[in-house]
């Protein structure tokens, strides 16, 4: 187990290191949602799952990244009958 030395464990040090990047990314997400909302059309499964994941960000619980990834995952268990496509879209299409 690698143990980072102080002071990077401290909240203020981590904030100094990552705050501006997180701020910029949050604004990018907000601008993306504004952009698609201004455009005509309806949400597909990717947009629906992205909007749904926003609630994890401010629920005060741990492991947000893991829980968001799980929420976008195919929940089925059995192998698919065939691979009708090679690609993945980022969120389970039936969401």
């Amino acid at each position: 187990m690698t143990t980072p030395k102080e002071p990077w464990r401290q909240r203020d040090a981590l904030t100094d290191l990552y705050y501006m990047e997180a701020r910029a990314r949050l604004l990018d997400v907000a601008a993306f949602l504004d952009r698609v909302d201004r455009a005509p059309g309806t949400d597909d499964h990717r947009l629906r799952s992205l909007r749904a994941a926003l609630s994890f960000l401010n629920d005060g619980k741990a492991d947000r990244t893991r829980r968001i990834l799980e929420s976008w995952s195919d929940p089925s268990v059995a192998p698919a009958d065939s691979a009708d496509t090679k690609g993945a879209t980022g969120a389970w299409p039936k969401l």
Binding site: T2, P4, R9, A13, P79, A80, T85, K86, G87, T89
Partner: protein, 273 residues
């Protein structure tokens, strides 16, 4: 700094990338067989590819003083065609004794289909029969969690020794499953999908780091052959010691890969990290 790049598709990269990697401290590179961006139409295409991985690319890397190793398989994207897949499986043993071949990989699943599962199981069988290491690719995005669980079940049922198998492209929702099953886990550093340097280090800090490695998985797509040394720099910014960084980017891959007796690294030119 010294590091091992345990997953890079060098046939898709330029000689400038070799120069940059070696300059950054790379002392060995490992190249799994993968999808070429199109489906090959016959077994002969794979025979040529395996020659490239076991003869041509090691020669190219040697010009930079860099030992090059490879993993062989038919990747899951081309495993839907069972006939072709069986043909390719039949030629793999011809190449297994080449000195730079680490084992079978990157096998795994892509869309978690029945045929992919079948061919994954056949690869595992070959690895077990020949007592070789295994490198497993886990599916992309929404298919990763389901695919990882299927893969872990298959490996358990096949009686594979977990310490000789590395399961790659783990993220926050799969890393615990892989480590708890006793396997090694690989974190792939990609600009958009998979993990960023910051998220990779979060995982390293939270889980027992002894069975984790980092890789760039650089190929012909959006990827960075210097992702591992750049993540080392990020670890320094986070306050990790030079010793801890060296253990993660050099010591760990060295321990896993040295289970193949032919694995070796170049003398690195720099001092300590």
């Amino acid at each position: 700094m010294r590091y091992i790049e345990p997953h890079a598709h060098m046939v898709s990269r330029t000689t400038d990338d070799y120069t940059a990697m070696v300059t950054a401290g790379c002392v060995a590179v490992c190249e799994p067989a993968f999808w070429a961006g199109f489906d090959r139409c016959s077994v002969d295409g794979f025979r040529d590819y395996f020659r490239q991985l076991t003869e041509i690319e090691p020669r190219r890397a040697a010009r930079y003083g860099l030992p090059h190793f490879s993993w062989l398989c038919i990747n899951p994207k081309e495993s839907e065609d069972l006939g072709l897949a069986e043909d390719v499986l039949s030629i793999i043993p011809e190449f297994l004794d080449k000195p730079n071949v680490l084992g079978i990989g990157e096998i795994g699943l892509n869309k978690n289909s029945r045929n992919e599962v079948k061919i994954f199981e056949r690869h595992v069988q070959i690895a077990v029969e020949h007592d070789r290491l295994i490198l497993v690719h886990t599916p992309h995005l929404e298919d990763k969690l389901k695919g990882t669980k299927l893969i872990l079940d298959i490996l358990r049922n096949a009686g594979v020794r977990p310490g000789r198998t590395l399961i790659d492209h783990v993220e926050e929702h799969t890393v615990r499953h892989v480590l708890d099953a006793g396997h090694w886990a690989g974190i792939t550093l990609y600009p958009e999908s998979k993990a960023t340097p910051a998220r990779a280090i979060d995982m390293v800090e939270q889980y027992a780091a002894e069975r984790l490695w980092l890789n760039s998985a650089c190929d012909w797509g959006h990827s960075d052959p210097l992702a591992v040394p750049k993540t080392a720099l990020e670890m320094r910014r986070r306050g990790h010691s030079a010793t801890a960084i060296d253990a993660l980017i050099y010591g760990n891959p060295l321990r896993f890969l040295s289970q193949y007796s032919g694995f070796k690294v170049a003398d690195h030119v720099g001092g300590s990290v």
